[in-house]
């Protein structure tokens, strides 16, 4: 399939798109930011489908809405349906920019110099072509190219409009067709999606869920878009109806050579519909790969857990399930480093363990009721976590009689804890110091932030346990057998 891609045109290129929502409450504005969508990059060929998978709050819907500019993305660029030369040069420039930013062994000034140079060329192109940069007035031209299909067929059709008017709306707003032309087109499309003329003169509430979804598809198709953003198009439908809709979309794609961005939490549906898949977790794409590659050789631990969590409709197949601990963290306060590390079964010590993860475990470690070995310590008044400095300060009630002895004892405890299940986080402790008689400071090693990198052709993964070649760093990864 990858050979085919060389000949096909890239119809959509999304570069580092981000959307942060301000958290505001009452009088105090902007308490922080919800990183709903945090730096996603991908490209889409003509007639191709990219599946976007993830759980609630992973940012897949935000991605769809940002692409359509229903909400203003915070940063990033989206290019759609440009002449191929322009598209290629833009992609080249964007990628070069990336490489420059990613360089490690260059000084800051040099980097800035190089960035400036690329931007000199890229800037005007962005301004002219990027959907996120152009003026709202010019958006109309692009709206013809990209259309959404929404999840809930009940809320996606205006209850006070006739089906006829709902389908005609995009034509009225985006084209200069006469009313006769519009009507003719409406008639054509309603038959194409499997309803009849009679249905045009009804209100949405008279239709079943599947029929409504057909109407929604008709509305998006009526102006011949190049890209459809399908946001969970079948998850509100029953399986038998879902099959009908999926088949319909399949045939539409084949006939019209449209590209799909297929957002869903349903992996089996994605597997059936998509050419390539992006797996998202807390606003970031953690793995992007061609469908077959992803489902046979998934790399990211989250992808594995996600895939293994789907119940298989076959009583004889027993899956080796990875049960993730805990809940998805809030995107307003995501974990450091790799967002997935607190739940990751194979997390390493540099995956992002920091003060905020370890305050509670350390408190428990020093709690004499849970851990009799820590009885020798005085009572803890408080534990202060310093996220910026990445350290923890422990204040004791009494002075430690022999600070150095206590430090050694704590180090021993840490050693012991680190050997227990889930003890990998204790390995992230760099050093323990007694800075005064009643205060101990624990500092952590610097964590690494994973980047989405290509480990094999077309297979991107954002995980520290892999070397550049896609090999697991065996000796550093605990429980590596899970990945086998």
């Amino acid at each position: 399939m990858s050979d085919n891609n060389e000949k096909r045109n890239i119809v959509l290129y999304v570069s580092h798109i981000k959307k942060y929502f301000d958290i505001s409450s009452g009088l105090k504005k902007s308490k922080g930011k919800v990183r709903a969508l945090d730096d996603v990059t991908f490209s889409l060929y003509e007639g191709e489908t990219i599946g976007v998978v993830g759980e609630t709050g992973c940012g897949k819907t935000t991605l769809g809405r940002s692409l359509l500019r229903l909400i203003e993305p915070t940063a990033g660029d989206v290019y759609v349906n440009l002449p191929q030369e322009i598209m290629n040069s833009i992609i080249n420039l964007e990628q070069r920019l990336n490489e420059i930013v990613d360089q490690d062994n260059v000084s800051k000034e040099d980097k800035n110099e190089q960035i400036k140079e690329v931007l000199k060329e890229l800037g005007p192109l962005r301004k002219k072509y990027s959907l996120t940069k152009i003026h709202k007035r010019e958006m109309k031209e692009y709206r013809k190219l990209m259309q959404p299909v929404f999840q809930d067929p009940y809320s996606s059709l205006d209850p006070r409009m006739l089906v006829k008017d709902i389908i005609a709306e995009p034509m009225k707003l985006l084209t200069k067709m006469s009313s006769q032309e519009i009507f003719k087109r409406t008639l054509d499309i309603i038959q194409e999606i499997g309803l009849s003329e009679d249905h045009l003169y009804r209100f949405p509430h008279e239709f079943s869920g599947g029929q409504r979804q057909r109407i929604g598809i008709a509305r998006s198709l009526v102006i011949d878009p190049k890209v459809l953003v399908l946001d969970e198009p079948t998850s509100a439908l029953d399986v038998s109806v879902q099959a009908q809709i999926l088949n319909l979309m399949r045939s539409i794609q084949q006939e019209r050579n449209i590209s799909f961005i297929f957002i869903s939490h349903h992996l089996s549906v994605i597997r059936m519909m998509a050419d390539k898949v992006a797996v998202m977790y807390l606003g970031k794409a953690v793995e992007i790969a061609e469908t077959n590659a992803l489902f046979t050789k998934m790399l990211h631990p989250y992808t594995r857990a996600l895939l293994s969590a789907i119940p298989i409709p076959d009583p004889k197949t027993k899956i080796n399930r990875i049960i993730l601990e805990g809940e998805i963290p809030s995107p307003s306060n995501p974990p450091n480093g790799c967002h997935f590390h607190p739940r990751c079964p194979v997390a390493m010590k540099n995956c992002g363990w920091s003060a905020q993860d370890l305050a509670q475990p350390i408190r428990e470690m020093l709690d004499p009721f849970r851990n009799p070995e820590s009885e020798s310590f005085p009572r803890i008044i408080r534990i202060v976590t310093d996220n910026d400095e990445n350290k923890i300060e422990i204040d004791f009630e009494d002075i430690l009689s022999e600070p150095q002895e206590s430090v050694r004892a704590i180090n021993n405890l840490i050693q012991k804890e680190s050997r227990l299940k889930g003890g990998i986080k204790f390995l992230a402790i760099d050093k323990v110091e007694a800075i005064s008689a009643d205060k101990i400071v624990i500092t952590f090693i610097k964590y690494d932030v994973p980047k989405l990198k290509e480990v094999s052709k077309g297979h991107f993964v954002s995980c520290l346990i892999y070397e550049d070649t896609g090999q697991v760093k065996r000796d550093e990864v605990p429980n590596a057998e899970i990945l086998a």
Binding site: E55, T56, S208, G210, D238, V239, S240, V241, Q242, A243, Q244, L246, N247, R250, H265, H266, L267, S268, V269, R271, M272, M273, A274, D275, T291, F295, A305, L306, S308, A309, I310, P311, I312, P313, D314, P315, K316, R321, I323, L324, G326, E327, I328
Partner: protein, 522 residues
Amino acid sequence: MIVEEENLKKIENYPYLSVEGLVTQFFTSGGIVKALDGVSFNIKKGEVMGLVGESGCGKSVTATSVMDLIPDPPGRIVKGKIIIDGFNIIGDINKLAKIKVKSEKNVIIKRNRKLIKRHNFILSKIRGRTISMIFQEPSLSLNPVMSVGKQIMEPILLHNRIEISNSIIRRETITKEQIRTFYTEALKIKDAMERRKYVNQWTNMFGVAESQDSILELFNSQASSDQIERDLENFLFGEIEGTNLRVIEKVRDYYKTQEELFKLHTTLLMAEENADSELIEKISMEIRNLQRKSNKELFGFKITYKFLRKRIDIPYVKEARRRALELLKLVNIAGAERVIDSYPHELSGGMQQRVMIAMALSSKPKILIADEPTTALDVTTQAQILELIKELKIVTGTSILFITHDLGVVAEMCDKIGIMYAGNLVEEAPVNDIFYNPKHPYTIGLLKSIPRSDVKRGDILESIPGSVPNLITPPSGCRFHPRCSFKMDICETNKPKLVELDDNKNQKVACFLFSREVESSE
């Protein structure tokens, strides 16, 4: 010996839940919705049965009917039997209300308030104790203005009063003698596990379960045996709170009479069902006597209880809270001490569902109905919850009625599966037969329309044409015939009966392709 073995076998096959010919209808202004049309199945001890079907096929109505929780009005169980642990909970269904159908849209229902009161009384003793339920939307199923702990404690306080009273009384009347026997016995046991078990038993019996760990620690410490004994005595007598035992006894008496009343009422109901006039007479007499007696003896108590309920309940609430904490730990909630005082909106969906499960299991029910317990959750959370239910099933031995539209979930969870379509059970078989040897055209269609892992990109899914019919005017005969590709003439006029296959006694299908038996319609 032989007889006993037979008995054992009987117990093994004894259906905890058995539903026979259940008909549930909703009398709406648009007409009568025939939601269930004669559903029958049974679930044995420890068995997990799955009910599968598309939305609007009557899965949830079945579940709510089994609990007799159909919202009335507009719904009503019209006919059938629901036998829970040997007792038909809707034996009096025809007497509760008289339904006169003048026309589809004009139905007169006359309710008998007195009997409904009795019916509710009996059910309140069965629900939550023999049978309980987990709902689909955990966020909607927990009372938003009540703390999680209070909600879990509510059924505990309702159903375990006598037991809690007994343990309070035992704790308060503990003697030195008893402590000494316990101490010497415990010292004799050398194996740590065994000793733990013994201490656990003892502490539970004497209502001091929360001090189990401390007692064990006492034994493990290096102090002299005299010292330990003194410590133990001090410790246990320190536990005594000086509760008014007379009041506790009164509470116990009150709940005991309630229990007796419940038993008499169920017997009465069964007698009424069998039209045994002699027994009816006798039992009614007994009920009247009991009520008179309790009115006389407990009159003063009932009044004080009404006004001083909060005070009297303090020791009970304390014990219930301890049990609630235990339950929360059982369902793997981290930080149970914190969660117990939080409100539902402060918890995530997965946590809320765990709380729901804890509530449902609070009185160790024999049957658990899980109505789409994971539909509203994410896949990874769903995996956690499914794993939990599987574990709990092994621990508690509960039978489960598992309702879902996800065939993957049933394949994983269930022993047998019932496929529902438009208010009928169209196929019922062990899980393997359903997946590898489906018979009913609907089952086949359903299985083919799910995107399975072996369906590759580019394949066309097979789908069932059309959609689920409107149940006010359901199709005649077999309700599936308008969508069925094997339709015969008989399907339009007659309704097939759910019968066992000739070659597989475990598999039942309602389709004329396999059997010509027609459902008798009255």
